[in-house]
Amino acid sequence: MSVSLSKLEKRTAYTLVLPAVLLVFAIVLFPIFANVWISFKDIELKDIRIPEPRAKKIVKSISENESELKVIYKLRNSSLIQEIRNVQFQDKFPKNISPIDLDPRCNFKSKKIICDFGNWEAKYRENFEIIIKNTNDERIDKKIIKSRKPILSGTANNPLLTTNFTLKNFKKVFYENNFVELLLTTFYFTFFGTVGAIIFGILAAQLVNQNIRGRTYMRGILLFPYVGPVVALAYTWTLLLDPNSGTLNALLVNFNIIETPINLLGQKYITLSILGFEFKLRLALTTVIFFEIWRYFPLAFLFILARLQAIPQSLYEAAEVDGASPTQKFIHITLPQITAIISILFMIRFIWNFNKFEDIFLLTGGASGTRTLPINVYQQGFAVSDIGMGSAVSIVIVMLLLSFMFIYFRLVGKKANED
């Protein structure tokens, strides 16, 4: 009895879970594996269509009473690089019509012209002509002839499924792609974006956690950058920072803080001199990092606030009795309580910043020193249209991500064992 019940339970469970699992598998997991396959292929954006035979039909009259017509089919192979084998052609005509001097590759049977064109190499083109005649010498309606579409078929290899592999893409990724700079930019962006978001998150949470009026409103407002659509926010910032007529530069010039406008998103380096030391700052990258912090500190804020509100008030009261200063309270009570959530946040934000595409793409498009790995996937795959190369960069991203997760779980697991 109980055995059959648990069997029933299992069957029910699988029916309930399966649709979701299959969908996620098809759209999320399958592409990750497909990336591996594509990254070993020499394939470009224009190659991904399966080649197919195409025909365009043109009808011309060649006799006075239109009882004879010339039908021209402009035949072509849609692919520029792949052949199509065994092309079959078929076109249907109304009754009382027969072809004259039919091409040897074709035959006419029960109102149909059927041709066997054999193999078409890549870029193949041909103007194929047929002359048709009405057997009763009556006028043929051109429109009817024109309206019938010929049917073509042929077999071609799906360029994605062929089994010729190459290591070319990976060689290019590591040797011809400024790989070290790419990696460094990605790490700068990720690290400073993450740390900045967490610091601002702690500050904001600390503010809102106090007994001030309107703190619920404040919490709502602080989340605005996070819930707003990235497109709208990124374009607003681009306008704000524009060197020619952007508000920020105009304000700074107006109040004589700077002399000439600074192109915050379009300038790769800026030379700063502090205490006599001159150093170069990655300007556009820094600006993008600030945007990133602005947009994502709310998430850190929300989590840290939730944690802060869970700290028992008695801890602070006890500290008060012991004569602790506000700084001591923060360091000895608040910080230890939020380290766990901060480490989780750091991990999550680090991984997500590492994969951030939209923000950088919309602000700079990856120009002026803001090219990160995800931007490179897009550039290689769609701007240079080298799909294989784009996939190879994706694989690098996946590998790095897996190693971050491994390191993180190793560290967290170790800590959990020690506790």
Partner: protein
Amino acid sequence: MKIKSLIIFLVISSFFLTCILSIWKIMSTLQGLSFTNLNITLVFSIGIFLSLLFVIIGNKINHLIKIFGLSFLFSILYFYLNEASPYWYILGVFLITLFFTNKLKKYSIQSLKEDFISEKIIFDFITLFGIVFFAFVILFPFYIMLVTSFKTQIALLVNPLDFSLDFSKNLTELFKSYFVIFDTYNFTRYILISSAVSIGTVIVTLLFAIPAAYAVARLNFFGKNFLSTSILIIYMFPAIVLVIPLYTVFSQLGLRNSIFGLLIVYTATTLPVAIYMLQGYFKSIPKEIEDAGIMDGQNWFGIILKIIIPLSLPAIASVALYVFMIAWNEFLFSLMFLDSPKSFTLSRAIQYLSGDAETPRQYLMAGSVVVTLPVLFIFIYFEKYLVSGLTAGSVKE
């Protein structure tokens, strides 16, 4: 000791006053006033003077009289020592000083002798400063977005600082950008598409996620633990690594440029979060209620429909809102999959508009306002649900 805390008090409080007055001045500049100097040193020195007077007077006179008197004095000093400015500006200065002096209430010569008073002063003013700073930094871009949509390109090129709105113009003139984007740029269509995709995603995601979450929360089956851990790992995987394979496969299947294709992708990418959030809530429902349902002879379909769903409406609402927001804001897939303006979503349409350098910026900003407003309204209205959704869904963007 007392001198030290007094100095800290004076410096920090006047620094805070200088900051809010500078923000006020910047905002006024954007209303067309032509200030060219922030006069930081001047404001700072009269700030110190004001705070000093405040502490010295202490409790000798009524607090209300004191703050009004001091603010009035400050405003007059400010008015004479500063550039010429209209009365509404000075009124603003007066109100800000009033707010500021009111905040100084608890400080007096006596209170400066307390323990750790310097630290307390610093913390107090950092809190105040932080609130003003965060509010300004967050709201300023939204303000610029909104106001730019009501201006014209030419006016902004002539004076990029003048964001004052002329309400004497008739409404059609003022809302011209909105009329243009709806009439010429077809934004009605994009709104419909975006809504259809987002609402569709919510419905399909819930249809798939509720049964799956129920199974994960309640039933025992082989691979359950594996499934619940892999849910967490799956959301760590970013959209950018899925894009190329999905693009090639969707091209071959003819699913690009279709709303259906977008719907599938959005559903699949939000499903893990939805399942994770829902199963957590389902676990908190007492099992006895379901047992009663089983006694009545309900099958799992009946249990989910008649017991689980009615009991977990708040959780379902927060998942729905959260998924809606993700789908509405999504940009990467709509950029990759949609080439033809016939099937653009709002985000993609705005990006397409910006691709044309000729597009005046007010149209771009009007479009941005159109795409932002629904999300902000939903957020403000359902903040409670969304915040719990955000914290539960934790990891996903």
